[in-house]
């Protein structure tokens, strides 16, 4: 587990300093960097697809209602080059997602990074997603 955390920290670091960024669409056409959102929920599905991977999570609100979140990530090929694997996030995992909100859609966002949450509530490992 410690190794995994160390590796994931290195992955996260490499993302922020990578020169491999590109853009498939203009971030500003969909998201607002000034509307950050942090939510904790349960992974429903991770789709490692192109041009953007997607992460779907369910968040249980204080009222008990479930909110379905739809997050855009970088392209699958970009994530794979940066250490993501198909089992990086699996259904049922608890995660905290740091993202920017979509400008015209609720419960949609663009992921900056995802942190897994252990059973005891402590933070597990972190994976970033370059903004494309």
């Amino acid at each position: 587990m410690k190794i995994k955390m160390i590796l994931s920290s290195a992955v996260l670091f490499s993302l922020f300093f990578s020169s491999q960024l590109f853009a498939h669409h203009n971030f500003r056409a969909e998201f607002d960097i000034n509307m950050p959102v942090v939510v904790t929920g349960t992974v429903v599905r991770l789709d490692l697809t192109n041009p953007h991977a997607r992460l779907y999570i369910d968040v249980t609100e204080e009222s008990g209602e479930i909110t379905h979140w739809d997050f855009e990530l970088a392209a699958a090929s970009s994530l794979l080059r940066r250490g993501w694997r198909r089992d990086t996030l699996e259904p049922g995992d608890t995660v905290t997602v740091h993202a920017a909100r979509a400008r015209n859609a609720p419960n949609v966002g663009n992921v900056e990074f995802v942190t897994t949450i252990n059973d005891d509530g402590s933070e597990g490992f972190t994976f970033g997603s370059p903004r494309e």
Partner: protein, 279 residues
């Protein structure tokens, strides 16, 4: 804790030193690749040649970015100064970044680019899984493969799964009635160790850069490919489009050989973002 620091440094080094260590598929150095005594690829070795003595461009290539990257990699700060005699460096976002006064737009083309930028680029063909223009392909952050034969050369771009074919069998350029394509029609010939590629028959709606610098059906490009060392590819590109620009201009793209790397499948299958676009 000390062990953790050592391991952290080790993994960080691996990640930063070679993206291939993290690639999806196995790292593999092809037979015949020049190696240094420590086993790494000798990027400064002489370029490989085909059996008929031509420079062999075959390999996987990564664009070299000389500018400082801002949001989504937008060029910020001062442009890098190329060596004497070398045209300004191309950038994915803004092909005019290295020019003192930007690109020489005709008035309509300048206005169209400004309109596209004001619209947050929502009409960018790539956003809808349509092909990128050549200059965006050359400068894209995703790698490209060159596969070279004796009578033609193919460039396979990971981005947008683009494929260009360059004919080197002596055929003429197409006549004026030929169809127009996203990638145009490319014919190449050798001038010494430089492969010179002329391309015409473009559709008129490709974008030169992410900011939306327009092109027209009058676009003609001349690309000069050279490989001075095993590890470096240099491409000088002449952009000649009297339909959008007051005069031709040239750009430079440098790319670096990616040892042990390969393309990852990239099928544009689920662009769900467009439903949320606003301008």
């Amino acid at each position: 804790m000390k062990l953790a620091k050592v391991l952290s440094t080790f993994f960080l080094f691996i990640l930063l030193a070679s993206a291939s260590a993290n690639a999806q598929w196995p790292y593999y150095i092809a037979p015949g690749t020049p190696l240094l005594p420590d086993g790494s690829v000798d990027m400064d070795a002489p370029p490989p040649r085909t059996p008929d003595g031509k420079i062999d461009f075959t390999g996987t290539w990564d664009v070299i970015r000389y500018h400082q990257g801002g949001e989504q990699g937008r060029p910020v700060g001062e442009p890098a100064t190329p060596p004497p005699g070398v045209p300004p460096y191309a950038t994915f976002w803004d092909q005019g970044f290295g020019f003192e006064n930007g690109l020489p737009y005709l008035p309509w083309a300048r206005e169209e680019r400004e309109r596209r930028m004001a619209n947050n680029g929502i009409e960018n063909p790539d956003s809808f899984c349509l092909p990128l223009g050549h200059m965006q392909f050359h400068t894209h952050g995703q790698p490209r493969d060159i596969v070279q034969g004796t009578d033609r050369l193919a460039i396979i771009y990971e981005a947008s799964a683009g494929v260009r074919q360059i004919f080197m069998d002596g055929r003429p350029m197409p006549d004026d009635n030929a169809l127009e394509w996203w990638y145009g029609y490319s014919v190449g010939h050798w001038e010494g160790d430089t492969l010179v590629v002329e391309t015409t028959n473009f559709r008129g709606d490709g974008w030169l850069d992410f900011n939306g610098s327009p092109t027209t059906e009058q676009l003609r490009t001349v690309e000069r490919f050279s490989r001075p060392t095993f590890g470096k590819l240099e491409i000088d590109i002449l952009i000649d489009d009297p339909g959008a620009y007051t005069e031709p201009f040239s750009l430079r793209v440098d790319q670096s050989f990616m040892p042990g790397e390969n393309l990852i499948e990239w099928v544009c299958e689920n662009e769900q973002s467009t439903q949320y676009f606003i301008n």
